[in-house]
């Protein structure tokens, strides 16, 4: 019997090596797998490359991982926010490398990795400093920039419900990067508010089919804490 559910958060993040590229879902706090990040801090992997839309808020979640000194580089679109003081301090001190990527290019580079695409031409960023040094091409009169996929060793994502085969559904706009990050990582780990029996998820509405998911861990969420 195939059962991708694991019993503890420690099991969920077991085996993340030093130097790994780890994708973390979420847009700000929505969809951020805070408990999996806490488990990763506990697990101890260092020298990580993190892929996320942002660079942490406040002092918890991704910000806590940065603060713990485990991250060498962050790939993101929007690091600077009102409460990104942990990132700001490390960046200004030269202790954290930043690769800034326009948000749609970030999403498409992740999608491309999961879809087996070698690279793609995108109009976004052409002529800007974020495209400096990159190959360009004019196609049908429009200018494009060549962008490469982002592959990850692990993806830590947050979904609402999952089953033992790894099928997932999400909740509202907390979906954001979860489905594409699941496809782009060698080992995608989903924390879910509820594990349901096979067949309980309507096959017509499953967002992430289990083929993309290696581990599922239940993290109960109080309604008020969403």
């Amino acid at each position: 019997m195939i059962d991708k559910t694991v019993q503890t958060l420690a099991d969920a993040v077991a085996g993340v090596p030093d130097g790994a590229t780890v994708m973390i879902s979420g847009f700000g706090g929505a969809g951020q797998p805070a408990e999996l990040i806490d488990a990763l801090i506990e697990q101890g992997a260092r020298d990580l490359v993190i892929v996320n839309n942002n660079a942490g808020n406040g002092d918890t979640g991704l910000a806590a991982l940065l603060k713990a000194g485990r991250v060498r580089k962050i790939v993101c679109s929007f690091p600077r926010q009102a409460d990104s003081h942990v990132f700001d301090g490390l960046y200004r001190a030269g202790r954290l490398e930043l690769e800034l990527v326009p948000q749609g290019n970030l999403a498409e580079r992740i999608r491309a990795a999961g879809a087996g695409i070698g690279a793609f031409f995108t109009p976004t960023g052409f002529g800007t400093e974020l495209a400096q040094g990159k190959e360009t091409r004019r196609i049908d009169g429009r200018d494009y920039v060549l962008e490469y996929p982002i592959h990850a060793d692990f993806a830590l994502i947050k979904a609402e419900r999952g089953d033992r085969w790894g099928n997932l559904v999400y909740r509202k706009a907390a979906r954001n990067f979860g489905p594409i990050m699941a496809t782009a990582a060698a080992c995608a780990v989903a924390q879910v508010a509820e594990v349901v029996a096979l067949g309980d998820l309507d096959p017509e509405v499953i967002v992430t089919p289990g083929i993309f998911v290696k581990r599922v861990v239940k993290v109960p969420v109080a309604g008020a804490a969403r």
């Binding site: 700000g28 969809g31 990527v101 974020l130 594409i180």
Partner: protein
């Protein structure tokens, strides 16, 4: 003759007038967000949010916030009946693929050729953050800019060439300022209308690129 600048709400109302029923629209962070408050109640318009929402509704009542339902500025919002959620690659396909009819963005500068600079001051100690600005600028069928006509220091924000780092090239179609509505045409900037009491010559003097009279 004396003139009054448009308030931020008056600017938003002016932009809202130009958004037709059935339009798929993305409103950028900051000033453009105000446009949502001025869309006529009877007009069905689909608001898109980059984080995976179509049919975005207004802010919820106090105490009804759901932090899984936020806008691009990470503020709580609601979903209209008929709205939909989708992942990030689909959301940006809607922009880059030319499916959005209109996006409204703020600006540091807009050039006479429609280049937009709105993401980074380029300052040595500034932490850069781009978000979805570059995708929006070049993705929507019609990119509109909403901005004060001049900076707090009185410098024109409509310029011959942008000096701030660019967001997109040749992407802006129309500019709504607190003094005027200005089209970006193949021949350069052309005034559409301006506030009462302001002479065309005075408007030109506050604009950093040649400005043509209305067609």
């Amino acid at each position: 003759m004396a003139y009054d600048k448009l308030s931020r709400d008056a600017m938003a109302a002016r932009v809202a007038r130009d958004i037709p029923e059935g339009a798929y629209v993305n409103l950028g962070i900051g000033l453009p967000t105000l446009v949502a408050n001025h869309l006529p109640a009877g007009r069905e318009i689909f608001l898109h949010s980059e984080n995976g929402i179509l049919g975005m509704g207004p802010a919820p009542a106090k105490g009804q916030e759901d932090w899984d339902l936020i806008n691009a500025g990470k503020q709580p919002v609601t979903l209209l009946t008929g709205g939909a959620f989708f992942h990030h690659a689909d959301s940006f396909a809607m922009m880059r693929g030319g499916h959005l009819d209109i996006c409204v963005l703020g600006a540091f500068q807009v050039s006479a050729g429609g280049d937009l600079a709105n993401w980074h001051t380029g300052g040595a100690d500034a932490i850069p953050a781009v978000g979805g600005a570059m995708d929006l600028a070049i993705g929507a069928k019609r990119t509109l800019v909403m901005t004060e006509h001049v900076t707090k220091a009185g410098e024109p924000k409509l310029v011959a060439r942008c000096t701030y780092p660019l967001t997109g090239i040749g992407c802006v179609k129309r500019i709504y300022t607190d003094l005027a509505v200005i089209d970006v045409t193949p021949a350069g900037l052309r005034a559409v209308e301006w506030v009462p009491g302001l002479s065309f010559e005075a408007l030109c003097a506050l604009t950093g690129a040649p400005l043509a009279r209305p067609a």
